[in-house]
């Protein structure tokens, strides 16, 4: 198989969401001497971009999207140790988590996966994350954007709390805040002073890009 052929087949494997085939072909590409960054840019990222286009045109659905992202991720993981010295360029760094007292994470995970495959570096703090933990990690990692998720009607108040603590700590102008969750709407985002809200994962990526570009 020529290098081009390997990269073409690798792109297709991402589109198919076949993670084991992606690992196999990524290894083949490395063995054939293709630069890791070239593999990422010309095959893995290309594949996931096409997955995104298929989703946009209505041909693909969320499971296709997540399997594509998982497949791409499997390839990137294999290449990461080889990337030392070279650096991947990200759109920006996003820190996300579900608020304290809430264990719901499906929506957050979908948004995280979408951001990752759209070229963001994503750090996920998981669920039941207290405001203090968000602050600590913001200081440590200096993300461009934080994404605060909440599903329960009784825990969405925590989103407001985190924004208040950010202001108290003098960090509010250093990071953009996005919020999400089934009971969340734009009115709530405006009320608590969040910078962005999206009702689905695709819009979340668009808004995230805009917020990073504006910062």
């Amino acid at each position: 198989m020529s290098r081009e052929e390997i990269l073409t087949r690798l792109t297709e494997a991402v589109i198919e969401g076949d993670d084991s085939l992606v690992v196999e072909l990524t290894q083949k590409a490395v063995d054939a001497g293709v630069e890791p960054l070239v593999i990422i840019n010309d095959a893995l990222t290309k594949g996931i971009r096409i997955v995104g286009e298929y989703f946009g045109s209505g041909q693909y659905f969320l499971p296709d999207l997540l399997l594509g992202a998982k497949a791409m991720d499997a390839g990137v993981k294999l290449l990461e140790p080889l990337l030392v010295g070279t650096s991947r360029e990200f759109h920006g760094r996003v820190l996300m988590g579900t608020v304290q007292g809430d264990l719901h994470e499906i929506g957050k995970n979908i948004v995280g996966m979408m951001l990752k495959t759209s070229g963001f570096e994503v750090v996920d703090l998981g669920v039941d994350v207290p405001a203090g933990k968000f602050i600590e990690k913001i200081k440590e990692l200096k993300p461009n954007v934080i994404g605060i998720s909440a599903l329960l009607t009784t825990t969405i108040g925590r989103q407001k709390e985190i924004i208040e603590v950010l202001t108290e700590e003098g960090l509010r102008d250093q990071v953009k805040v996005m919020i999400g969750g089934a009971p969340i709407n734009q009115a709530w985002a405006d009320k608590i002073g969040a910078d962005g809200y999206a009702e689905d994962a695709i819009t979340a990526v668009e808004i995230c890009k805009k917020l990073v570009a504006a910062s």
């Binding site: 969320l62 499971p63 499906i106 979908i110 009784t154 825990t155 969405i156 009115a187």
Partner: protein, 474 residues
Amino acid sequence: MKFELFSQEELLQIHQASVEILKRVGIHTTSERFKSLLLDHGCEEHGDRIVFTEDVIEKALKTVPPSFKLYGRNDSHVLEIGWKKAYCQTCVGTPSMMDLDTGEKRDATVKDLEEYTRLADALDYVNIISPIFPRDVPQEIILTIETATLLRNTSKPLSICVESARELPYILELLRLVAGGEEALREKPIATIPVSPLSPLEYGFDPAEALLDVVEAGLPLGVEPCPMMGSTGPMTLIGTVAQHNAEILAGVIAAQLLKPGAPLTMSSRATFMDMRSGVGLWAMPEMGLAGAAMNQLGRFYNIPVAPGGYCGASKTADAQSGYEHLYNALMESLVGSDIIGSAGSLDNALTSCYAMLVMDNEISSVVQRTIKGVEVNEEKLAVDVVAEVIESHGNFLAHKHTRKYLRAGELWVPPLGDRQTFEKWAFTGEKVEEKARRTAKELIATHQVLPLSPEVEAEFDKVIARARQIEMGE
């Protein structure tokens, strides 16, 4: 009237799948109390999961009461849970409300909670009242304020879903004040308390502790996880049902191990992810089908069931809402449902709507009429009446049999729907949703709720003040 979705063989197969999930995968919990309760009774620890054994499952399921009664705060409301009467329950926890004047969606307020509860109190076929979630009250004591507001605005039985045990002491105190003490509340419970563990198979600290506290308090428990097909449950209806059944049984078993004979309902809420937007759908047909499936499992175990059913994906009280709510509720009631929840909801149970509650009252009326079935006996078959009418060359209108059964309610009378002649209807040309909104306004303006005594009112204020003090440091 009993419809079946599954044959006995299929039902056993689903049960076996749920049992296998409990034995192989089990549950996870961060509550030490919940964990040790299960382990002390023979469950086993496999890594960070607690798995069940055939013995524990069998033993615990034997002690579940097949029925219990739920009371209003006066004697006129007595609900027989376990008799498959399809009691209609309002939707819990919606943070948004459709404004009755503007028809626009906005945040729910405590004034909405008062008026919506009073409306539900006025509607004959809405039987159990659950609170919407107002945004303009301190969130630290939201359930305390909700419980007091419900009790002040209705005398019907309540259902108060708790996400943690934190406010439970105040809720219990309010309920006991109305019921006349702890023992009286236990004897005649005026509320069910559902708790909602996470899917798949996760009993987080808060719901696990709340479940145990509700059982300790002796109030009827609802075990109400809410999996979503394709995201927090498998992408097959029956796969999600088998998992859902397993996670509900885990809670049922824990409750029975803590207190054998504790009254409870399997409060199924199997929802479905829209695979383009990620929205959690409470729509038809899956919601009704899965609810019906869980209801048949409830019948199989002889455990009362309380699925969500008056729900759909429509955003307004329109024709889509009408057919979605009717489909889901009717499907569930035909297989046998004790309670059907989510009444008055729109937009996948995220919004409550006054007009929709009036429409759901209509749907509940026809659902409850339907499951009464059609009695077959000699007098109702009326062969003699047919003969007499033919012989006399008359008609049925002038026969006493007609008057008798008309008075007995043989002909369903819609509380809301239009049955006028075209000309009469065309005079205003009012659509059902417009009439529903008008009815809601009239009932809110005129309906009188049985008041609480001044003594109880005063005690309520004290409980709220204390909650404020302890939970908010005021």
